[in-house]
């Protein structure tokens, strides 16, 4: 019974990403959308937290939201996978439930 977690706020605005990472179970996936994709940028104070999430499961970020914010593939923490809206739908289907960390 794995869960897809969506985070739509930057880790510098709210603690949604931090809360989410603290609740990830093995096999869960984390998807960053909207301003949440800022958490995918490497070299920030949130990077270690995201790397911890990568160690426990898949971490994904919505490509169009990354592009809109000028975050290029080479700017991203290694291991985070870019997905389009179809990929978002697939992640929802692959996991038993979706939790939005609003």
């Amino acid at each position: 019974m794995s869960t897809l977690h969506t985070v739509n706020k930057t880790p510098f605005e709210r603690n949604a990403l931090q809360s989410c990472v603290g609740h990830l179970s093995p096999g869960d996936a984390l998807l960053m959308i909207e301003d949440g994709v800022v958490g995918a940028r490497k070299g920030s104070s949130a990077t270690a937290m995201v790397q911890a999430a990568l160690a426990s499961g898949g971490v994904y970020a919505l490509a169009s939201d990354l592009d809109a914010r000028g975050i290029r593939p080479e700017d991203m923490i290694e291991g985070i996978q870019r997905v389009d809206y179809g990929g978002f739908v697939d992640l929802v289907a692959q996991h038993a439930r979706t939790v939005a960390w609003l």
Binding site: N8, G86, V92
Partner: protein, 130 residues
Amino acid sequence: MQLAIVVNEGPYTHQASDTAYHFTKAALEKGHGITRVFFYHDGVNNGTRLTVPPQDDRNLQKLWSELGEKHGLDLVVCIAAAQRRGILDADEARRHGKDASNLAPGFRISGLGQLIEAGIEADRLVVFGD
């Protein structure tokens, strides 16, 4: 797979409605069914037919109506949230003695029970908000 969508934010104040729209469209393109799209809280503002955004901007309300018409979607606006924000269909306008109604084509006004029902009937419930 059957998906239910909840939209908690209005258009233009937050990206949530845009994301929900693109997600719903992608799900339909992949052959999934949409049990219902439930517009709650400020999300009810997606259901007014009186929005007139600049011509070079997306018209989210119209996009929802068009997607709803094309795929026969059940676009439900929460009645309590809608009445607080001045979103009325013809019946509600009459009932409250208002001189106009503004619910957009393809939307209908109903209660929170529709959200619960969608959550029970759908395989997945996906929430978009602030």
